[in-house]
Subunit: 563 residues, 2 copies
């Protein structure tokens, strides 16, 4: 028996993972990994933190945990894998089962046979098709070279003003990185909201926080890069505004690198990614593909999506590593598009479907908002705002969004695992999670969120979203808005939409101050709407028929407040 020949195209995340797993599955397979660029196994998700100065040693992006740089020598010695860097695969010859390649340094060309081929060509950043894109001072943050360039910007300290174009994950991470470099920043987003995978309100809360750090412009695209002597001097927006700057970083998404696959006649999906089955196999059974160059199934909606996330790339690589050696034994189940993003002292993320996505997918859903701390006040607990979306009929969790200075990562991990397990609200209502004051409240924020949802599904918590309330207030609807907090809290901060303050502790004795008409619409709230909820049930008990609670209270109010 001859040794199995495996070729991997791509040396970033999926490729090295597939190659290493294949090696562990078969010591004698001949494994070659082609990488167009000079570096291998770059921790590209770490670029913003290198640029932002969280660490200074560039090699940490390229090293094993014990500090060995993952270069071709390492791959050969430690893994028995031939890694050919600066070498571009130019063609896949399916008929003869070989690839053709060019060494980009020497110009040499060659070809090599495969038994199994793995395509992990990743994605490339989009650039806007506008004048001036070739000016000096315009970058992305996608490659080691980008990271080196932007880190040099930090270290040099010459650039004072920059524009980040695109309010997605990378845009926001880049914004933080450059802000930490002392640069005055403007973030420009073409759409009406940042982080479009979130619902509008959650994204608005992110935007509100970012505005304390940078100038944020939405609903306005970039029309032109303006320059002098080949250097960027300003970004001109579609509404004519010019923002003077010496640097612009473009982060308007990526597109799958599928040319090789397409030229070879492999199936490309509607979204522009390579299509695979659950074994990560293309329509050619000897060719596998994974990572950012592929489409992947959303487990909840059943639809294909583009999900260029580093964790999926690695997991898919492992699946391929098993399958190319052992036959198709491992399946990749798909994604629930879990994502998280740090921004300064906050984090924000999502798992599963947003309300918008649930609506699009035709689910009959319920949603709630919970604004409450992650830990007790005496342990310096920090705010979390969670939006939970649940299917009405089955009560199963469809999705959760979470943001705040609190422990967002744990919340999302809980919900992601709950979705994986097809758990319902009822399962989460009495979940048994690790509790001690340094880590959570006695009733964890996730469980409290499930409690509110249970109450809402049961009809004893009738919520109104801040967006709906703001609309009603702006329209001048006839309603009574009851703030159930204390007078001191009211003095510090209030909505300013005509609310009346009656602290919950006084409500029973001051019921006469409520409208005489028991059918009048009443909205109750407090800081996080727990007292608001108590006020609402109290009023309903006293005959009021149209009482709603402002979900998430003042803490989740995305609009301007008084004071």
């Amino acid at each position: 028996m001859t040794n199995k020949k495996i070729i991997v195209i791509g040396g970033s995340a999926t490729g090295p993972k597939a190659a290493a797993k294949a090696r562990r599955m078969d010591e004698f397979a001949e494994i070659t990994m082609f990488q167009k660029g000079p570096d291998l196994s770059m921790a590209s998700c770490g670029f913003p933190y290198y640029v932002g100065g969280f660490f200074d040693d560039r090699n940490k992006l390229l090293c094993t945990p014990t500090g060995v740089v993952r270069d071709p020598k390492f791959y050969w010695n430690a893994k028995g894998i031939v890694a050919r860097v600066n070498t571009e695969v130019t063609r896949i010859d399916r008929e003869n089962k070989k690839v053709e390649f060019t060494n980009l340094e020497t110009g040499e060309t060659g070809s090599q046979e495969y038994d199994k081929l793995i395509i992990a060509t990743g994605a490339s950043p989009n650039m806007p098709p506008i004048p001036g894109v070739d000016l000096q001072g315009i970058s992305t943050l996608q490659s080691m070279q980008d990271a080196d360039y932007l880190r040099k910007v930090r270290d040099d300290g010459h650039i004072k003003k920059a524009v980040v174009i695109g309010g997605g994950l990378i845009g926001i991470e880049t914004l933080e990185a450059l802000h930490l470099a002392g640069i005055e920043l403007t973030l420009v987003e073409l759409l009406p909201q940042l982080l479009t995978f979130l619902d509008w309100k959650m994204a608005k809360l992110v935007e509100n926080y970012l505005k304390t750090k940078a100038n944020v412009i939405t609903k306005n695209g970039v029309a032109e890069f303006v320059g002098e002597n080949g250097k960027l001097t300003a970004v001109k927006l579609q509404n004519g505004t010019e923002i003077p700057c010496q640097l612009a970083v473009v982060a308007i998404g990526v597109r799958p690198n599928v040319k090789l696959a397409q030229d070879a006649g492999l199936k490309i999906g509607e979204l522009g990614g390579i299509v695979t089955n659950e074994y990560m196999q293309t329509n050619d059974p000897d060719i596998y593909a994974a990572g950012d160059c592929c489409e992947v199934k959303n487990i909840i909606s059943g639809k294909n999506v583009l999900a260029p996330y580093g964790d999926l790339a690695n997991l898919q690589g492992r699946v391929i590593g098993e399958n190319v050696i052992a036959g198709d034994i491992a399946k990749f189940p798909g994604t629930i598009q879990t994502g998280i993003c740090k921004f300064f002292d906050y984090a924000v993320g999502i798992t599963g479907l947003s309300e918008e996505k649930a609506k699009e997918a035709g689910f009959n859903y319920e949603r709630v908002l919970n604004a409450s701390p992650d830990k007790p006040g005496f342990m310096d607990g920090k705010l979390l705002i969670t939006k939970l979306v649940v299917e009405h009929k089955t009560r199963r969790i469809l999705g959760a969004q979470c943001l705040g200075p609190g422990d967002v990562s744990k919340q999302l991990a809980i919900w992601a695992t709950a979705i994986k397990g097809n758990l319902t609200v009822d399962d989460m209502v009495n979940a048994d999670l690790p509790y001690a004051p340094p880590f959570s409240l006695a009733i964890d924020h996730s469980i409290a969120t499930a409690h509110i949802m249970e109450n809402k599904l049961r009809g004893i918590f009738k919520g109104i979203s801040s967006v709906d309330l703001k609309e009603k207030a702006d329209r001048g609807d006839d309603m009574f808005i009851l703030d159930a907090r204390g007078a001191d809290e009211y003095e510090q901060m209030r909505l300013g939409i005509g609310e009346t303050l009656i602290p919950i502790g006084k409500l029973r004795e001051r019921l006469h101050e409520l409208p005489e008409d028991k059918n009048k619409e009443i909205i109750t709230f407090c800081k996080i709407s727990l007292r608001g909820y108590e006020a609402a049930v109290l009023l309903e008990a006293h005959g009021y028929t149209n009482v709603k609670i402002l979900e998430g209270g003042i803490m989740a109010w995305p609009f301007d407040r008084e004071k």
Copy 2:
């Protein structure tokens, strides 16, 4: 219709939660809560952190999140609940559906009728039946009074030496608290290990870390408290050792307070707790009970256990609050005994069954250990050591233990949710968790743990535990132990059990240094045994038939190491 009369006995966690939920379910119910002590809704899990100086304002243990002390006035004004403090319920008269009580301050007695009664009498700390227990300087950490006393010890600064008796959760939390007060400490545990809900090795790793902070003695009980002039001067152990000290804190577990229930003829279980059904109802359908005074079902083993945890107390209280008003609509599913404990810069915890418990319960299980960081090195990732236990046949998760300076809380939350969802290893192998470098590795520690387990179940990862390897080494078994790390790592730290260093990168060219006998037992390892794993598969590929990997590598080695 007359208003429903509800009496709650106990004002700590379960009681107030049940009362408040009942109020939200029924504005007109007459709700009275009896509390033997002066305080209500004490955050008793927070006592160690008050004693340890994490915060200084005692009222934070008694306040709402907005700073209102939860005293009888608060309960009446905000919740419409009559809270009678310093008032002991002395008898439950089931026939006449009333309770008799005594005001402990005035001596007044009285009785009050109920439609529904809620018993939430909690638990009392055990005291050892030995001489000297009445000496001044002996305390527990169970009540506000205990917390006040020990906080005063901190503030006064007179006490230099103390002994903590009992190596459970409270004992270890107390140890940290008193250590932070600058006191020299000895921890005494009767059993061969601390934290008996963990498997021996995990507990040993905790013990090893605690020994860097305090003197730790296991397998030795306390025989006598020695004193002079009524004051503690030493703790005498069963082996005769006397430990001089001015303070001893006893933390050897709690026993359910069931006298009231027992006297009323309610059913008490074999473990000494009140027995309820899943509605938290005792054998008297008008009497409910929950919290530390009750037994609760372990969902995995199906057996009743005592699980005196604050989170369960609150969740059960909520279930009762619903049921006493709306009829039996809410069920409490039981516990998987999730627990977590901070100790200095580390945390440790468990969810589900330990290996010992799985064995006891008759499961055919597999277990693995994963020692690896929670985040990338460049984001200052910290070590986590996870032990995962899985049922062999069904591959479902039975339990997980985790410890380390890394994010233990998130790991346990993931596994607890996975157990709730009856998830298998295969579900977790491609879980879609929130990934970004500030929060996790691209392949989260929990997923990596599932990967190792999958490999082990498939027979391609053959592990040996450190305990077994140590035994073999001590016995002088004929084996070849291969350290696959780098020479620099070897210089810094090594096991010192006769291992041979061959770095993984040199192994292919140095195969001739391995034993000629291909059937000889070979043990491979590295820092965390990933390179150890690679070495093992490499050796097997070259015909070695008896290769095992030291699980968890050097990082999870619980015994003395060289250097």
